[in-house]
């Protein structure tokens, strides 16, 4: 069943060629979809269009059958940098989306505590973001995106600034949580192996268009060993070649 449908959308600034040019994309319920591309290919713009932060010049976006013209409470968003509020504690940062909507309930606090536990930061709930490492901050940003139990999650290279080991840990956390809640995900990255490891389906974007799409035929849950298997590496190579062909 299709959950997010992007129909022929175009977006651009006046006088230049469109940043996003006639993109079609269908993501099924509970599917983890990765969008792969080099910097400047328009993937962040596409994500902002899909999440309702930007309005397309042409085309339409349907979330669960309804047209999207505005950000929705059903969606969570994780930005390139953690974008935590420095003056709020970790707990208050996680609860921010709820506290902007209504008065916090005991249930909200319990869920936030559970989320912090899930990402291994239970002991940090009263710390301030500047007291955390980069990886910990990214975890808090992820917990904040999950606090409203979104059915759709948008992530914009959330782990790009982290070291390899921390990134793998966070990938595991993300996969586990999304599977648990059957969250549909659109994940943007320029890291080929990250895309293959995480996704059910991967698309390559170049110059504002999607030039390649492929199912990732790996069992779930994913394991460390898969990263070194032949199927994994073959797919990485194919994607790599597609990306450089797109450039030329």
């Amino acid at each position: 069943m299709e959950f997010l449908t992007i129909k022929d959308i175009t977006y651009g600034y006046q006088g230049t060629s469109p940043v996003v040019d006639g993109v079609n994309l269908v993501i099924k319920k509970g599917e983890f979809h990765c969008l792969l591309g080099q910097s400047g290919c328009g993937k962040t713009t596409l994500l902002k269009l899909a999440s309702g932060l930007l309005q397309p010049d042409k085309g339409s976006i349907l979330l669960n059958g309804k047209g999207m013209t505005d950000p929705s409470y059903e969606c969570g968003f994780v930005f390139q940098s953690p974008t935590l509020l420095e003056w709020k504690t970790v707990m208050d940062n996680v609860l921010l989306p709820v506290s902007l909507r209504r008065k916090l309930t005991e249930e909200n606090r319990e869920y936030a505590t559970a989320l912090l536990k899930m990402i291994g930061l239970s002991a940090y709930d009263n710390r301030y973001p500047t007291q955390l490492s980069g990886g910990q901050q990214s975890r808090v940003a992820l917990a904040r995106a999950l606090i409203q139990k979104p059915s759709m999650l948008f992530l914009d290279e959330p782990f790009a600034a982290l070291d390899a080991i921390t990134r793998e840990e966070l990938q595991e956390d993300l996969l586990r949580i999304c599977q648990l809640q059957n969250t549909t995900v659109l994940f943007i990255t320029h890291d080929i192996s990250e895309a293959v490891y995480l996704s059910d389906r991967v698309a390559v974007m170049d110059k504002g268009s999607i030039i390649y799409e492929e199912e990732v035929d790996l069992a779930k849950p994913r394991t460390m060993e898969m990263r070194y298997g032949s199927y994994f590496n073959d797919l990485c190579l194919t994607l790599r070649q597609t990306m450089s062909e797109g450039r030329s």
Binding site: P71, T83, L100, T130
Partner: protein, 251 residues
């Protein structure tokens, strides 16, 4: 660097001694010795001669500071939020800044009389600008991704202001307050110079008339203390409130 406070104190004592020696060779009218000034100061404090003046000047400074900062903050928010207001008002704000405000003091005394009102207004006018400027620019240049986050969370304009722009701009706003505190002292004293019978500024003018230089120095010392105490208070508030913004260096 540990002993820096100690050396600072040592320097202070050395300068006092130098002053004391220099004053020994001069008329008390030109340069009274620290010991003489100290005697005048203590004497005035004990007899309660200074009390009314200290209260008056402090009150003028504090009231002017509160009034000016509050208006500066509010107008700063409005101008930071609305491009229309910013463009409409900025020529006037710049013009009002270009006028040397202390030169307006005689006019204010003409309008508002010789009592406290005129001094509070002069002080407020001087404190207004640093707060306006800092508030306006602090809330305008908030991290773009944080603004996008708030849009994603469907926050209203009011919520974005209260929960994002003002807290994010707080360090800048407090820096403006720190500047305003120092200027407030100048405003109140100049106001008292021009027209006033009470207050430390008026006392300086009176001591000039009476050729009582030690009294003049004693008043100056009191003014310096008031300024330093207020500055320290703002500093403490700034440290306290902007603590989470700083990267922790030690664990």
């Amino acid at each position: 660097m540990k002993n820096i406070r100690f050396y600072s104190l040592l320097l202070f004592i050395f300068l006092l001694l130098l002053w004391e020696i220099a004053a020994g060779n001069m008329s008390e009218l030109v340069l009274p010795a620290p010991s003489v000034i100290f005697h005048t100061l203590i004497d005035g404090l004990m007899t309660g001669y200074f009390t009314a003046h200290i209260i008056r000047t402090t009150l003028e400074i504090v009231l002017g500071l509160i009034l000016g900062s509050l208006f500066g903050f509010i107008i700063g928010i409005l101008m930071g939020e609305s491009e229309f207001l910013r463009k409409l008002l900025s020529p006037y704000i710049i013009a009002s800044q270009a006028v040397p405000k202390l030169a307006l003091a005689p006019l204010f005394i003409l309008w508002f009389g010789f009592d406290m009102t005129s001094k509070v207004i002069i002080t407020a006018l001087i404190c207004f600008f640093p707060l306006l400027e800092n508030t306006m620019s602090s809330i305008q240049y908030v991290d773009k991704q944080k603004l996008e986050l708030f849009r994603m969370l469907k926050a209203s304009r009011w919520q974005t202001l209260i929960h994002l722009k003002i807290p994010a701009g707080l360090p800048g706003i407090l820096a403006g307050l720190r500047v305003a505190v120092v200027l407030a002292v100048v405003g109140a004293v100049v106001g008292e110079f021009i027209g006033g019978s009470e207050g430390l500024g008026a006392l300086i003018i009176a001591s000039q008339g009476m050729m009582d230089t030690p009294l003049m120095f004693a008043s100056l010392i009191l003014l310096t203390i008031i300024g330093m105490v207020l500055y320290q208070l703002v500093n403490i508030a700034e440290k306290r409130w902007s603590k989470p913004y700083m990267k922790e260096t030690k664990k």
